[in-house]
Symmetry: C2
């Protein structure tokens, strides 16, 4: 935890009272004392400092912070992600890792090779997934939660939703081991928001590839090595960021 995040609703008269794992972190990891300053941020808001004005160092831990928000958080990431619903245990990790890397939106849809049971998972409920997003923000020192957009039906996602949002992007990219073009070739020319798509384990089927391409997605390859979904999410995000920074 490189940033102590709190919700707007937790602030009363410039004070935030922490009674959970955040208080424990201040005691057990930061080894802070009354009078010390810790880095804080408001979810969806600015970053700043919190002065510890009261600290209960034994269980049940408690920390009363007097907070001053000063800087705006880091720049809004220019990258969004489209996933075929991964295995729930992997999705949890992707939520926090993609948030740490910086994404604006995560779209999740269905695919032929997505196991039906994945759709019954609790992780698709905001109450379940929000803590994983928060973890990513705490890690990366950011305050801006990605937006999670779940479209259960592939066909309406590809034919309607994706066409509707295509105009928001300068590039709609789909990772495919057999594509001819490299990522840097695909990203040449104008620079704007990028949406990149990662298929399910086993890949998209031909029908899906066709539909996604008809809605404007262009296929690219990062080489012959086939990566697991969670590895690919990070690997391709980094390559896109690297290209956008040129």
């Amino acid at each position: 935890m490189n940033l102590i995040l709190f919700e707007k609703e937790e602030v009363t008269d410039h004070h935030v009272l922490l009674l959970d794992h955040r208080a424990k972190h201040i005691v057990k990891v930061l080894h802070s004392d009354v009078g010390d300053i810790v880095r804080v941020g408001m979810v969806g808001g600015a970053i700043g400092t919190g002065e510890i004005v009261r600290l209960e160092k034994k269980y049940p831990f408690a920390a009363d912070l007097c907070v001053k928000l000063t800087n705006n958080a880091v720049t809004h990431p220019a990258i969004d992600l489209l996933l075929a619903l991964p295995r729930p245990i992997m999705l949890k990790r992707i939520f926090s890792q993609a948030t740490a890397l910086g994404v604006g939106k995560i779209f999740i849809t269905n695919a032929n090779r997505v196991e039906k049971s994945f759709w019954e998972s609790g992780i698709l409920d905001p109450i379940e997934y929000r803590p994983h997003l928060i973890q990513g923000l705490e890690q990366a020192i950011d305050t801006r939660l990605p937006e999670i957009i779940i479209s259960r039906h592939f066909r309406s996602f590809a034919e309607e939703k994706l066409r509707g949002i295509a105009g928001d992007y300068s590039h709609l990219l789909l990772a495919h081991p057999k594509a001819d073009k490299s990522l840097s070739t695909c990203l040449q020319g104008k620079r704007g928001r990028v949406l990149y798509a990662i298929g399910p384990e086993g890949g998209w089927v031909d029908f899906e590839l066709e539909k996604l391409q008809q809605s404007g997605m262009r296929v690219f390859s990062i080489g012959a090595r086939i990566l697991k979904v969670d590895t690919a999410v990070i690997a391709i995000h980094s390559r896109i960021t690297q290209e956008l920074e040129r």
Copy 2:
């Protein structure tokens, strides 16, 4: 599993008899039958095809393959990795993910912020870590196991070992959020093997940074966002690969 790997010792007269999870994979995931051809590879050797000549489709699963090795495996990766020993559960994942991405060697050493208990973990035993490396190869369709080199003492690693191997590399790079130079700046000029270092959670301490830099490591940054070790391993590997491919 995108490749069925076997050891040299398992081959008798062009036949390999599978009695473990590999046989189960052929039955349950590939839904293969006698006469079908599956993609196989020999650990440390070539890739080829295996014809199923006998198949036991019920537990205990068994598959007798007649194998023909034809192609050499993919190119030897030009990237090696140096880690401060991570939390064992994370190290397992790094072993398979880094192997899937392609690394030649993984050096593991100590650091001030490495918890002592991590050194007691079974995962540092080849018997424990080899299956995770194999998993990475099966995923990426590769046969070449990375070499794992464990140097428990940081100081002798940084002062002796690292200096001894520095000549093998065109670039020795150390990721640090506060560095001035970008990765692409650091990688300009001659191209050869790259060794990149990822510190422990919380980072290297100043003494360690100094020692590593004295032995030739140059610091670079990939931006202000602080990543967890496993995320950073993948993110930086991808960026280096992207640069080396230019």
